[in-house]
C-alpha cells in the first residue's frame, strides 16, 4: 500500500475458525483488506463465504484467531475494550431491521443510552431537540421518538439503527446486508439515505451485500469473497464489468438482471446510466 496514512481501516491476514478445538473450520482464512477515508468498500460473495465474520471482527464482536485489524494504524481490540474514541469510530448496521432495536426500549431511550455511554458525543443543551434533529436527519418524524421497534416499519427501524450508529459520529460504518431484508421500495430509501449521510458525515463504509446490483450502485471498490478468501478486489466498475477471477465471473453469470426491459442506452424508463 502506497500510503498507510491514507488507509482508515486495515485488516491484515485475518483468520477465524468456528467450532472449538476439534471440527474447527476456517470461516475466514487469511483475509486482508483496507478502507480509505470516505471510501466505500463493497464486500460480496456467496452465503457462508465469511463476509459477516469479517464484519464482526472489524466491529470487535469477534476475536480473530489470527491477524490484525487496525484503525489509522491503531489496533482495534474487542468491543468494550477499545479506547472510547476508537469505540466510537467504528459502528455497525445490521441486517434484520426489527431485531436491531431492543423491542423493550423506545427510540428515545435507545439514543439516550448511546449518549450516556459516550458523553462526549452527547449534545449540549436540550437533548430532546437534539434527538428530534437527529431523527429528522434520518427522515424520521419526531413522534417516532416515543415508539418502540414493534410499532415501527422495517424501514423506520433501519433508520433508527443508522441514527444510533451515527449518534456517536463514527468514521467507518460497517453495513452487513443492511438493506437485504427490506422491501425493494424501502431498500431504495435506505440506500439513498446512506449515500446522503456518507457525503455529509464524510463516512467510510464497509458495505456487505450479496446483491451485486446494489454494490454496483454505491461501492467505490469491491472485494469478492469465496470460501474465506478474497479472490478479487478492485474498482467496482472494473470488477463487475470485466471480472478476472473465475469465481467472480460465475457470480456475475448467475446474477439476474431484469429480463432486458431496458434498451442499452437506458433512457427509455428514466433509469439513467451514470
Amino acid at each position: 500500500m502506497s500510503a498507510s496514512e491514507r488507509t482508515l481501516l486495515d485488516v491484515r491476514d485475518l483468520r477465524v475458525s468456528y467450532g472449538g478445538r476439534r471440527g474447527a473450520r476456517a470461516a475466514v482464512d487469511g483475509v486482508s483488506l483496507s478502507v480509505a477515508p470516505e471510501e466505500t468498500l463493497g464486500l460480496v460473495g456467496e452465503s457462508g463465504s465469511g463476509k459477516t465474520t469479517v464484519a464482526r471482527c472489524v466491529a470487535g464482536l469477534l476475536r480473530p484467531g489470527a491477524g490484525t485489524v487496525t484503525f489509522e494504524g491503531r489496533p482495534l481490540g474487542r468491543a468494550g475494550r477499545r479506547p472510547p474514541e476508537l469505540q466510537r469510530a467504528v459502528q455497525m448496521v445490521f441486517q434484520d431491521p426489527r431485531s436491531s432495536l431492543n423491542p423493550r426500549m423506545t427510540v428515545a431511550s435507545i439514543i439516550a443510552e448511546v449518549w450516556r455511554t459516550h458523553p462526549v458525543t452527547a449534545p449540549e443543551g436540550d437533548r430532546t431537540e437534539a434527538l428530534h434533529r437527529l431523527l429528522a436527519d434520518m427522515g424520521l418524524d419526531p413522534e417516532v421518538a416515543a415508539r418502540r421497534a414493534g410499532d415501527l416499519s422495517g424501514g423506520q427501524c433501519q433508520r433508527v439503527s443508522i441514527a444510533r450508529a451515527l449518534a456517536v459520529r463514527p468514521r467507518l460504518l460497517v453495513c452487513d446486508e443492511a438493506v437485504s431484508a427490506l422491501d425493494v421500495s424501502v431498500q431504495a430509501q435506505i440506500l439513498r439515505l446512506l449515500v446522503d449521510l456518507r457525503g455529509r458525515h464524510r463516512l467510510a463504509m464497509l458495505f456487505i451485500s450479496h446483491d451485486l446490483g446494489v454494490v454496483h450502485q454505491i461501492a467505490d471498490r469491491v472485494a469478492v469473497m469465496h470460501r474465506g478468501l478474497i479472490v478479487e478486489e478492485g474498482r467496482t466498475g472494473e470488477v463487475l464489468t470485466a471480472p478476472r477471477h473465475a469465481y467472480t465471473r460465475a457470480l456475475l453469470d448467475a446474477a439476474l438482471d431484469l429480463d432486458d426491459p431496458v434498451p442499452e442506452d437506458g433512457t427509455a424508463d428514466g433509469r439513467a446510466v451514470v
Binding site: Q156, D183, V184, L240, D253, P261, V262, G266
Partner: protein, 345 residues
C-alpha cells in the same frame, strides 16, 4: 364465508373474458381471504384477487412483503391458516375447488396441484429420509416398494441430484440448500401435477444456486407442459421465468399482463416504482428516487386506492375510490384510475 360463486363478487371484469383458447387451467375469481385480527376484527389479507393461469404457462406473482402472495397460493391449495375464511371461486378446469368437498380437495392436492415452499429445510420433515418423503405420493397408489423407490430415484435424477440412489437415503439436514430444494421439487413432481405452485422457491438460496434452480424449473415446466404459479418478491426472478405477471399490493391486484410488457411499460405507478428500484448488476445505475413511506399492509389499508399515500400521481379520486382492475390495453389490466398517465406506459 359466502358460498363460492355467489352473486356478491364484485364486478371487476376478470370473470367476463376468457382469452385463452381452451380456457385457463386455473381461474381465480374474486378470491377473498379473511383472517381473524386483534379484538375480534377480521382482516382481508387477500381482497378480491382475480387472475388466470393458462395451461403450460408460468405466471409470476410479485409484490412486497405482506401483500398476500403466499396467502393466495395457499388458498389455491386449500391450506389457509387456521381460522381463515375464503370466498370467491377457484375454478380448476372449471370445477370450483372452494365448493368441493374436502376429499376432492385432498385428491387434487399433490396430484393435480403441487407446491414448492420457500425454505426447503423447514418444509422437509427432519426425521424422515427424503426418499420416504418423496415417495409418499406414489405410495398412496399402493405401488410396490421397489417400484416406489425406482420412481424416487428417477425423480431425483430428473431434478439433477447427483448419485440419487445414495442421496435418497439422506436426511434433509445432510443435504446442501440447493439439493434440498431439488428434493423438494422432486417431491412436488412425484404426483405428476398439472400446476406447480412455487412460493419463493429460490429466496433462501445463493445466486448461483438460484439461477440453476430457476433453470431447472423452467426446463421441467417446458418439458412437462406444466403450468406454474411462481410467487416472488424479486422482479428479476419473475422477469426471467414468468410469461405473465400479476403484481399485488396490500392484498389486491394492481396490475397483470404479459411479463415483458408489464415490466417494460408498467401501467400502474406502483409497478413503475418497483421496476425503477431494481438496480442493474452489469451496468451502474443511479440511485432511484425512492417511493416515500412504507408499504401498506392489509391490516391497515388506506381508503380508496391502497397505494395512494405513496403515489406520485395521487389525486382526490384516488383517496376516495377503490380503483377497479380494468383492461387498459389488450391483455393489460391495471387497477389505476390513471393508468394511461403512468410514465413509461
Amino acid at each position: 364465508m359466502t358460498p363460492a360463486g355467489a352473486g356478491t363478487a364484485r364486478e371487476n371484469g376478470a370473470g367476463k373474458t376468457a382469452p385463452a383458447t381452451d380456457g385457463p387451467i386455473l381461474r381465480i375469481d374474486d378470491l377473498v381471504v379473511e383472517l381473524p385480527g386483534p379484538h375480534g376484527t377480521r382482516t382481508r389479507v387477500v381482497d378480491g384477487v382475480s387472475f388466470d393461469v393458462p395451461r403450460a404457462t408460468t405466471v409470476g406473482l410479485i409484490g412486497e412483503s405482506g401483500s398476500g402472495k403466499t396467502m393466495t397460493a395457499h388458498a389455491v391449495l386449500g391450506l389457509p391458516p387456521e381460522g381463515a375464511t375464503l370466498s370467491g371461486r377457484l375454478l380448476w378446469h372449471g370445477e370450483d375447488l372452494l365448493a368441493a368437498d374436502p376429499a376432492r380437495r385432498r385428491a387434487v392436492r399433490g396430484r393435480e396441484i403441487a407446491m414448492i415452499f420457500q425454505d426447503p429445510l423447514a418444509a422437509l420433515n427432519p426425521t424422515q429420509r427424503i426418499a420416504r418423503q418423496i415417495g409418499e405420493v406414489p405410495r398412496r397408489d399402493r405401488l410396490p416398494r421397489a417400484e416406489v423407490n425406482r420412481r424416487v430415484v428417477e425423480l431425483l435424477d430428473r431434478v439433477g441430484v447427483p448419485e440419487p440412489e445414495r442421496r435418497m437415503r439422506a436426511y434433509p439436514h445432510e443435504l446442501s440448500g440447493g439439493l434440498r430444494q431439488r428434493a423438494m421439487i422432486a417431491m412436488a413432481l412425484a404426483g405428476s401435477p398439472a400446476l406447480l405452485l412455487a412460493d419463493e422457491p429460490t429466496t433462501a438460496l445463493d445466486v448461483t444456486v438460484q439461477s440453476r434452480i430457476l433453470r431447472l424449473l423452467a426446463d421441467i415446466q417446458a418439458a412437462d407442459g406444466l403450468a406454474m404459479l411462481l410467487v416472488s418478491h424479486d422482479l428479476r426472478v419473475v422477469s426471467h421465468v414468468g410469461e405473465r405477471v400479476v403484481v399485488m399490493y396490500a392484498g389486491r391486484v394492481c396490475e397483470r399482463g404479459p411479463a415483458r410488457d408489464v415490466l417494460r411499460r408498467p401501467a400502474h405507478p406502483y409497478t413503475a416504482a418497483l421496476v425503477r428500484s431494481v438496480p442493474a448488476v452489469r451496468t451502474r445505475t443511479a440511485l432511484a428516487d425512492p417511493l416515500p413511506g412504507a408499504p401498506a399492509t392489509p391490516a391497515n389499508r388506506p381508503a380508496g386506492c391502497a397505494f395512494h399515500p405513496r403515489c406520485p400521481m395521487a389525486r382526490a379520486r384516488c383517496r376516495a375510490e377503490v380503483p377497479e382492475v380494468r383492461e387498459v390495453a389488450p391483455g393489460r389490466w391495471s387497477a389505476c384510475h390513471f393508468a394511461e398517465e403512468v410514465p413509461g406506459s
